[in-house]
Subunit: 327 residues, 2 copies
Amino acid sequence: MKIRIAIAGYGNLGRGVECAVKQNSDTELYGVFTRRNPADVKTLTGVDVYSIDDILNHKDKIDVLIICGGSATDLPVQTPEYAKYFNVIDSFDTHAKIPEHFANVDLSAKASGKIALISAGWDPGMFSLNRVYAEAVLPAGKSYTFWGKGVSQGHSDAIRRIDGVLDARQYTIPCDDALDAVRGGKNPELTTRQKHTRECFVVAADGADKARIEREIVTMPNYFADYDTTVHFISMEELKRDHAGIPHGGFVIRSGATGLNGENNHIIEFSLKLDSNPEFTSSVLVAYARAAYRMNAEGMSGCKTVFDVAPAYLSPKSGQELRKELL
Amino acid sequence: MKIRIAIAGYGNLGRGVECAVKQNSDTELYGVFTRRNPADVKTLTGVDVYSIDDILNHKDKIDVLIICGGSATDLPVQTPEYAKYFNVIDSFDTHAKIPEHFANVDLSAKASGKIALISAGWDPGMFSLNRVYAEAVLPAGKSYTFWGKGVSQGHSDAIRRIDGVLDARQYTIPCDDALDAVRGGKNPELTTRQKHTRECFVVAADGADKARIEREIVTMPNYFADYDTTVHFISMEELKRDHAGIPHGGFVIRSGATGLNGENNHIIEFSLKLDSNPEFTSSVLVAYARAAYRMNAEGMSGCKTVFDVAPAYLSPKSGQELRKELL
């Protein structure tokens, strides 16, 4: 029998999960649950759409619920709530609030006897895994995370709020010099400005003061002031043609020494180059849905993160197959 | 109280474990056990050396035994034997025989109630982990493993067995063109020759026929015949000066598609660049010793591989610290 997955929330991430479930022969999509009028939601695969208000009526037909809401306001409410009834997965990514979210979700999941796996995706997620593995293996060392090249939704939104801006796309770009220094084992101390640059493609309204817009962008506190930022004004046509994708990626690198006196150096590097940030995140969510289902079937419950999941749970292959084919 | 680690077998790997234990504040080295006369073994740190024949007398003072023998003849005997009495770790790396080794060790470890973690290191080990994670996350894709640049002990030994060769060092080198094609998402079918080249540094005896030696190397079945191989004749002095290290490394890359029709591509890449192959392997062994100790303390037993170990067990940090600092 296949693992029956349901989606709560049908945006980019929900659509990504819908596609990812199709790629896995041991999972099937039960349906999409939405806050909108189900009749108004057209899915990519034609799977059934239900009102989120009715979800408890489907309780026994769903093995894992993947919650595809936003971290700001949706997940802090939804994940603890649905963990009372379902094995759940979320991609909560407000790093500073993870301990609080974990505690809330853990209470629900322990009480219900379900597994609630939070903060899956690539950062938090695959990048976090690599930080833990690399630090455990090379305790005498230094870790670095670089992001990009990729679209930052938050920074793009910040530009769009500037007066006279019709639309914008912001790319975060890791600095090659910094990457090379880290890979060379130099363990540099890097400032914010030395690690990443920011490149902005902006569509200005007719007659808008471009010099003023550019100044507002590059001096914007928190978002741009600490970076070298480049601003390009382009047409709406160019934006739609050349910047429609949502690529992202990045690098987790640890440089560490071993030997009696630290005489040997080692570099562990993990990187992602993603054509579609939400689709990749969705693929991670589905792999962890498989893990959550199996861990719960073995009697485990409570809130978990990627750190608590043995890798074998993620693969549809048996332990025997994994040892023979991939070890 | 610190985790008390003992070493069985004191070669390059044993010395590496000795150094790695020092780098971890929650582990301490109880001693080295050797088949040699203990009085003849001088350790790097001055830790006690005992005869391996006496090891059962130390049973209650050792939390984890790291077995640093060879995969050909030592580990198939030692790991099942010592798993009867200790939590054990080994770096068994004969890929084809892992299922058999697992079965033998599992019998012992289940009977004793201990944890026996086999095949830890980087390949098998860290590379295996990345193959499993990447395949689980991108099921519609293709995985590649490249090794090097680094010293292959087996290939160096094969050259040394040729008549007229005094010493030799062989480097395995991944081909840049193949790496680039894989990173570019082209999912190429690669022959053995297209993936790696081999470079040999050979010290010939005075008056030896170098043309014959070179021919014997490049045509050697299994080892060199399927590769583009370069042979350099150098002096013993040059070999000792320029080729004393044991560097290694490599790349695990998966390229996979997502989306309703596979329209988006993603590259997951993990790489290692190691100054010292045995010291890095030793560092992995010590991290897994921590995990084995904790898993056994929680009541788990039997044979395990890196696939069965949740990442959190590897880190000295608490779950709370990991979520706050590394998630």
